[in-house]
């Protein structure tokens, strides 16, 4: 019955050796958290396409590999010069660099800000702020968040820890850079804990990049907690190796009058699956969700989002856009839940896709579940190709077909990111987008409009 029993046993055994390797640390309270998650794994199964939440994405390609844990001894020495391309040409940002999931202090840049801003590796936070970590970790993840999330918890070892204390504004963006550089098939399981207390503002960039375009598996979990009146700009860039697998879970809790703006940008990965869950835990709050996925030949990207309106007068705006070329597949499954007492909710959701090839597939499922009557909710989805009239217009002004297409596609894509306020990040993203669109194997003849 259990299809992936063998690989599950593999990870269970990896946990045992991981536990032995912890030495003294396994006595610490945080280890209870790991043990608890590890204890659930034997009971859980890896999802198959028979599971409604996974019906369009077959994870068996991930599960045929036996990814090993990364051991520090096999580290490739990354020098500062190698990470420069990923730093937005900006040395002012607070930067946490992780190589193959392990914090690298030498490459990071953590200027002493104020005591109200704590930015460090999670490992360090275990030592210095044990009670805070214990208080927040696993708090936002649902009890049934699935086997991948439990695996992340079980192998919890490192990640970013950011705590902004009350009444603080952090001007510099905080950049979390996960860099993979591996020749062996490893599993990287970062865990990020981001806490903004009341009356705070910050910008965070969570960035997954690669140096060697190799095969590995990232299984990330990010937990974000916003207090009252907090404002967080969160940009997540997934630009992994196109041979790699990326599965992520983001759990966000938003309290009263806070504004959470999230950019979920996927460019890399052979198979990427993002689960994003946001819940309002107070009223009058706002969640803006902007997604972009650009797929070339051989890629599958699956975004599952869930916004849970539990309190009155909250607003959510969701826009996900995708461009697909080659033989690729994009999945969007967005759910907006408006619970009984969340009157005066405004929720908008939209998913737009452009197919550029005959072999690309889009499966989209925007869902609304509403239990309150005084609400404004709408959702929409479109799947299509470039507007012929717009193409004609550009061509009549002397653009070549190729130029016209590229202009329209980039306008379509860049529209998602254009409100990112940090110029350096925006430039960086535009560069990735352009590069990505160049690789789309332009004008495979069959896609030319007839």
């Amino acid at each position: 019955m259990e299809k992936f029993q063998e690989v599950k046993t593999w990870y269970i055994n990896r946990f045992e050796s991981f536990e032995r390797g912890l030495n003294g640390e396994s006595k610490k309270p945080i280890h209870k958290f790991r043990k608890q998650a590890a204890g659930k794994i034997p009971e859980l199964s890896f999802p198959t396409i028979r599971d409604e939440e996974w019906r369009y994405t077959d994870v068996s390609p991930v599960l045929v590999h036996k990814f090993d844990l990364y051991s520090i001894s096999s580290t490739s020495d990354i020098i500062k010069k190698q990470i420069e391309p990923f730093l937005f040409n900006n040395s002012e940002y607070i930067t946490l660099v992780f190589v193959n999931g392990i914090f690298n202090a030498g490459l990071s840049n953590i200027p002493a800000v104020t005591e109200n801003v704590l930015v460090m590796s999670l490992k360090e936070a275990f030592e210095k702020h044990q009670s805070i970590v214990e208080n927040y970790i696993g708090k936002n993840t649902a009890a049934d968040s699935g086997i991948f999330s439990e695996m992340n918890s079980a192998f919890l070892s490192d990640g970013a820890f950011i705590l902004i204390r009350k009444n603080t504004v952090v001007e510099q963006p905080i950049h979390i850079l996960y860099l993979s550089s591996t020749e062996s098939e490893i599993i990287i399981q970062p865990r990020n804990l981001i806490i903004l207390e009341d009356n705070t503002r910050a910008s965070i960039i969570e960035n997954y990049e690669t140096i060697l375009h190799s095969l590995y598996f990232t299984n990330a979990v990010t937990e974000v907690t916003l207090g009252k009146n907090a404002n967080l700009n969160h940009v997540r860039i997934q630009n992994e190796s196109t041979k790699a697998f990326h599965i992520s879970l983001s759990e966000t809790a938003i309290d009263s009058s806070s504004v959470y703006t999230y950019y979920n940008l996927d460019f890399g990965g052979k198979l990427a699956r993002n689960n994003f869950n946001a819940k309002f835990v107070g009223q009058d709050a706002e969640c803006n969700l902007n997604g972009l996925y650009l797929l070339n030949d051989g890629q599958t990207i699956d975004n599952h989002t869930m916004i849970d309106h539990k309190h009155p007068r909250c607003r959510s705006n969701e826009l996900y856009k995708g461009v697909l070329s080659g033989k690729s597949r994009a999945v969007f499954n967005g759910k907006v839940m408006v619970r009984k007492d969340s009157q005066k909710t405004n929720a908008f959701q939209s998913n737009k896709n452009i197919l550029l090839s005959n072999n690309a597939i889009v499966d989209t499922k925007p869902q609304l579940e509403i239990f309150a009557d005084d609400v404004k909710c709408s959702h929409g989805a479109t799947i299509g190709q470039l507007d012929e009239e717009a193409l004609f217009y550009l061509r009549s002004r002397g653009f070549s077909l190729e130029q016209a297409r590229r202009t329209l596609v980039s306008a379509f894509a860049e529209n998602v990111v254009e409100n990112i306020s940090h110029k350096a990040v925006l430039d960086y993203l535009e560069q990735i987008i352009q590069e990505k669109l160049r690789n789309e194997n332009p004008l495979s003849e069959s896609t030319v409009l007839e």
């Binding site: 009984k340 889009v362 239990f371 959702h379």
Partner: protein
């Protein structure tokens, strides 16, 4: 919510189901339960050809290997399939030569329901096939239709008189192994309507079937098969009611529509099965498989449904658009109240080139009900220039009900254009105020707003049905908003 609003909501929930009577007709009923012998009995009672029995048994054997689907957004206690009577027929039904021989009790029932069985009383131009529990009791206007070569008769009769036609098309688009309830239906179906429109014929009148569940503990499993041959046209209506009972009754029908080259089928349903009382006791489980097959080029199938009854409605009238340039349409109004549950929508499967589909779905939830739209639009790899437009709106009345929208869009052809839009809203206070100001009572105002909201769907219904649907909606929504 203010107390007057609550009162009015309650008033609304006190609405009575006016078709809840039981008819006292002697029935020929077989014992409860299901096994191969029961299927043999049904087949023998109907005097069916051998191949039909084989077909049923094959479906039954397959059914045994299947498990009940669980994915829908409805909940109900497990159905005990051994506790259902699979065959019940009014005793006096045998070999009717003319309307005069129909049991007067039965005629009275259908008159009460407003179904004019007696030909002289019929309002112009609707041919009716009435199905009582498991069997068809009367079909009107048969002879007149025959002149044009149109076949309109109970499917049991068609099995005798046109076995080749039935054999050719039955199970073509809903195979006997399609899903749990379709397999069950294939094994035990007892009657239903059969329609064949010959080449180039435009059916001169609306065809109609009226379904009635009367006997307690029975399940109704009818099977409708409509074939529109090349260049033909037919409009078909279906209505349903059942008595009020405390237990739930299962209705698992299968409807197959097949449109050949240039043919058009328009299928309209007004479903008003007993919905249970306001505590959610009793009512019909309406688990139906309806599918249309646009087999030929330029063919068109259009579904229109007004779903107001049933404790649970769970169905997706679908179109498989195989012929190039074929068109599928789906117009739906689904109203749920009390503790009713609905998980309904459509599937549009685009296979051929230049195929088009339109979906307009209007959900209205009130009381403590849950109303779900679930729809699939699938564009296959070769469905060049396929086009779909879907619009799904939900209206909530009160804050104890739920509205859900689950559209599935699966596209594998770049030339396809697929759009989905959905909104959720309530009746605006300003809208009511505006109409009050012009002298309309609250109830009239609500009725007017809701009817306006559903207009896009109602205009697709044949005229007589549109009037009935509007009335039905007006009645169900009385006093729902303060």
């Amino acid at each position: 919510m203010s107390s007057t609003e609550m009162q009015e909501l309650e008033q609304f929930t006190d609405q009575e189901y006016k078709y809840g009577f039981v008819t006292d007709v002697e029935s020929d009923t077989i014992a409860k339960g299901l096994n191969e012998d029961v299927i043999r009995v049904i087949s023998r009672k109907k005097d069916e050809p051998e191949w039909m029995l084989e077909w049923r048994l094959k479906a039954y054997r397959h059914w045994l290997t299947m498990t009940e689907p669980k994915w829908s957004n409805v909940s109900y206690p497990k159905i005990d399939f051994r506790d259902i009577i699979y065959y019940s027929a009014p005793k006096s039904v045998k070999k009717l030569q003319s309307m005069d021989e129909v049991d007067p009790e039965l005629l009275k029932t259908f008159t009460k329901l407003g179904i004019p069985l007696e030909e002289q009383k019929i309002f112009a131009g609707v041919a009716v096939d009435a199905v009582f529990d498991s069997v068809s009791v009367a079909t009107t206007f048969k002879a007149k239709l025959k002149e044009d070569g149109i076949i309109f008769c109970p499917i049991s009769e068609a099995l005798h008189e046109y076995p080749d036609l039935v054999k050719k098309y039955i199970g073509m688009i809903v195979p006997s192994t399609d899903n749990f309830y379709a397999a069950l239906n294939s094994a035990v179906f007892t009657d239903g309507s059969f329609v064949y429109i010959p080449k180039g014929v435009r059916c001169p009148m609306e065809l109609s079937t009226y379904f009635r569940i009367n006997e307690a503990k029975t399940g109704q499993f009818e099977r409708t098969l409509i074939i529109a041959d090349e260049g033909s046209y037919v409009s078909y209506l279906e209505g349903c009611t059942a008595p009020m009972r405390d237990e739930n009754q299962l209705h698992a029908a299968v409807v197959e529509l097949i449109a050949l080259d240039n043919a058009q089928i328009k299928y309209s349903t007004i479903q008003n099965w007993y919905a249970g009382d306001k505590e959610g006791r009793g009512g019909i489980y309406n688990f139906v498989t309806k599918r249309g097959f646009c087999k030929g080029v330029n063919s068109k199938i259009s579904w229109t449904q007004v779903e107001t009854g049933s404790a649970i409605t769970w169905k997706y009238p679908s179109c498989v658009l195989q012929g190039d340039n074929s068109i599928g349409e789906f117009y739906s109004v689904a109203v749920t109240n009390h503790k009713q549950q609905a998980d309904t929508g459509t599937k549009m499967i685009h296979i051929g080139k230049n195929t088009r589909s339109t979906i307009v779905s209007k959900g209205i939830s009130a009381g403590k009900s849950n109303n779900t739209y679930r729809g699939l639009v699938k564009v296959g790899k070769n469905a060049k220039n396929a086009r779909n437009y879907s619009q799904c709106d939900s209206l909530l009345i009160g804050d104890t009900c739920g509205a859900h929208t689950f559209p599935y869009l699966e596209v594998s052809n770049p030339s396809a254009k697929v759009e989905h839009e959905a909104t959720t809203s309530k009746i605006g206070e300003d809208q009511i105020f505006y109409l009050n100001q012009r002298g309309l009572s609250n109830e009239d105002a609500v009725s007017m707003i809701v009817n306006g909201y559903c207009k896009e769907v109602f205009k697709e219904l044949p005229m007589e049905f549109a009037v009935e649907a509007q009335k039905l909606l007006g009645v169900s929504l009385e006093g729902s908003v303060g």
